[in-house]
Amino acid sequence: MTDAAGALSPESQAGTTQLRGFRALEVDLRLFGMVAALVAILVGFGIATGGRFLSPVNLMNLTVQSISVAIIATGMTLIIVSRNIDLSVGSIVGVVGMAQVLLMTQIIPNAIGYEHPATWIIALVAGVLIGGLIGAFPGGIIAYVGVPSFVVTLGGLLAWRGVTFGITQGVTIAPVDPVFRLLGGGPRGSIGGTASWIVGIVICVAVIALLVYNRRRRRQFGFALRPRWAEAALGVVGCAIVLGLIYIANSYLWPPALARQWSQQTGLPIPEGGIQSGIAWPVLVLLAVTLVMTFIATRRRFGRYVFAIGGNPEAAELAGIDTRWTIMKTFILIGLLCGLSAAITAARIDGATLDLGAGYELYVIAACVIGGTSFAGGIGTIPGAVLGALVMAALSYGLSFIGLVGPIQDVVAGIVLVTAVGFDTVNRRRTG
């Protein structure tokens, strides 16, 4: 590797070209377009409600509402990219959520005692592992037996919902452990003002470090460099966006009633100017999942294999990729993510119902598709899927917020979905 780089460098150093103008920023235009669409939707609702929609509390609400779907969508992207589909995610969320709450309300208290401090972590880890195991099962059938994923996971959609019913005979169980509940967000489930600034600064430093590192690597391998102004612009804009979002999150103060309650419980006075909510715990989880999944998808061999299989399965197999094991791993991965998503959903509603996660498969697939994942395979990005989930949550929350109820809401949402994907399809055809 070093040899090759060394051999290349003199020549390419000389020939190093710099991109000019806007292209120098090397912004992913598709992703940029999606962000623009999201902003347009938010601003549109903002105008329709005289600005009330853009209040920090609304922005936090709709973000938290998108998270369960967004987390699974990061895994679904890899599944769809490799030309498969998973219709069973909603039912897996249901069965894992029910198992987690059952662990917290009955099994763990019986084993190690009521309100044990380790309750939440046992339930969380067990849930995620159960999800992975559940995912391995259809994954194995699809990869090694060769049954189409559509059929296998359609079976899963029915069967796992039945298992969920079987666990408690359809009875709703509640409540979840108090620490576990933090995963559901809300003012109490947020990390507070100071911690949020720290997170913001850490992300900011990471963005700059990444830019510096990439520039060094590019020089090392003799790739085209961005002009200095472009690097600086990316760093400044990136940091400004991150810190701006933190500022918005921090400007949501605990509602007075909640602050009074907290003050009574802890005996502490309410700080001057109120208590800042900051970033919700589930948002941090989603952030971590997005980073890890993006890393896996773009920087790890597994991720490359998935895209290679999606691009051309036969070629991938002939190239020596263990396609079956790779496919099975994508299903284990989505199972793990379903476990995590189930925890967040159960925490949000403070319990588990029979219909926990019902219909998620449709939401998740729609998020991936809106996010630019192609059903033909080989194309798709993790951040796109997360943005897709946000777009849908924004639409759903916004339509409800402006008072469009019931059937009209369905019609509007349907038109917007098809328009969004249609626009993207036409755009892709034009640009190639």
Binding site: G170, T172, L362
Partner: protein, 390 residues
């Protein structure tokens, strides 16, 4: 929430496109096949045996397995009869073939909870020709030959509103309604309205009345959250149409530190627990064990050859469930026809009468024998305030 609906079309389209497996799409989405979703293929019973067939629409709520079914069985088997249960997993086709199976097994009376009563029209005509009487259980079948046995559904909304307005006679209300395409959601709302019109100082702010798809807890929480954001948390009471949505509502309220009166319906165990803990004011409870027992008694009367207008509810059922209009069948004006009906009384469960769902065996029936009271009373420390938990 609405995106789910729309996305459902996507998937069903996808099913049609890709699979072509012959699966009925209507059976596919998130339906639960109960213990006997498939038509039982047992040999026809001897002609002299008294057989009651039940055709459930689904087994999605615990009530069918815990209470309605056992209530019917208890009465019918005591009279020497036999009950065969079938579950249609929310599919009209499955329900029709279930009924065919029951006919083949020599059923004498059918207890029917129709997925879609209109889809049953020709089957009901066939049953009439066969001389098999039908009891429409819990859901109206607009057909003069079908008896209508139910709880006073319009009364449920009225009772909820009465309890909550009794606690909060003025201020901002939120109304969290059920599934937009379920007529019950609007029945309940209409019942509420009969009470709310008497309180001019009660307002429902914009953004505080919405349907929650599939009566889903998460959707209800999202609706409540949006309402709180729209009003800057200025809400004094919430009318939630059932208990599982009340769970989402109360979670949203506690997120912002509010503790205000909330209604619910169904007598779900977590909801009864919330009543005990004081976070939910009322759960309007339809004791389906009593409904099942009445259905069993009516089936026996029909087997004995009584006509629909001669049916009488037994006086052995619990006092709180006794028909408000009297035990004898009365005529009910449905959209098209007059049908004979008996209507049981829904029971608002408050802290004061929390003992009723515990003592009737309802709580045990849902969570398991001997565990009902503990589940309802979980976390209650002050038993003088909650006598039922003492």
């Amino acid at each position: 929430m609405s995106i789910r609906r729309m996305a459902a079309f996507l998937t069903i389209a996808a099913i049609a496109f890709t699979a072509c497996t012959g699966t009925t799409p209507s059976a596919a989405p998130a339906s639960v096949a109960g213990p006997s979703a498939v038509t039982p293929s047992v040999a026809p019973s001897p002609a002299d045996e008294f057989v009651v067939g039940i055709s459930w629409n689904n087994y999605d709520q615990p009530r069918w397995a815990c209470c309605d079914g056992p209530g019917i069985k208890e009465v019918v088997t005591a009279a020497g009869g036999r009950v065969i249960e079938t579950v249609a997993a929310n599919s009209n086709e499955i329900q029709l073939s279930n009924i065919d199976g029951l006919i083949a097994q020599g059923m004498d009376v059918l207890i029917l909870l129709a997925k879609d009563p209109d889809a049953m029209t020709s089957k009901l005509a066939e049953l009439k020709d066969l001389g098999i009487p039908v009891i429409g259980y819990d859901r109206l079948v607009d057909n003069p030959d079908v008896f209508y046995l139910t709880f006073d559904n319009q009364g449920v909304g009225r009772i909820m509103a009465e309890v909550i307005t009794g606690l909060v006679p003025k201020g901002n209300y939120a109304v969290i309604k059920g599934h937009s395409q379920d007529p019950n959601a609007d029945f309940l709302r209409a019942g509420m309205e009969t009470v709310l019109t008497k309180f001019p100082d009660i307002k429902i702010p914009a953004g505080c009345e919405d349907y929650s798809d599939n009566w889903n807890t998460e959707n209800a929480k999202n609706n409540m959250t949006a309402c709180l954001a729209a009003t800057n948390n200025d809400i004094q009471a919430v009318l939630s149409e059932n208990d599982s949505m009340a769970g989402g509502v109360i979670s949203a309220l506690s997120d912002v530190g509010l503790r205000i009166p909330v209604s619910g319906q169904d007598g779900d165990i977590p909801a009864l627990n919330r009543v005990a803990l004081g976070t939910q004011s009322v759960s309007v409870w339809k004791d389906s064990l009593q409904l099942g027992r009445v259905a069993g008694a009516l089936a026996i009367q029909l087997y004995e050859g009584k006509a629909l207008n001669e049916l009488v509810a037994p006086d052995t059922i619990a006092a709180y469930a006794k028909p408000p209009l009297g035990s004898a069948a009365v005529e009910f004006q449905a959209d098209k026809n007059k049908v004979w009906s008996i209507t049981l009384n829904p029971n608002p469960v408050l802290i004061a009468n929390l003992n009723e769902p515990i003592e009737s065996g309802w709580a045990d029936g849902v969570v398991g024998a001997g565990k009902g009271k503990a589940a309802v009373c979980a976390g209650v420390t002050d038993t003088t305030a909650v006598p039922a938990c003492g």
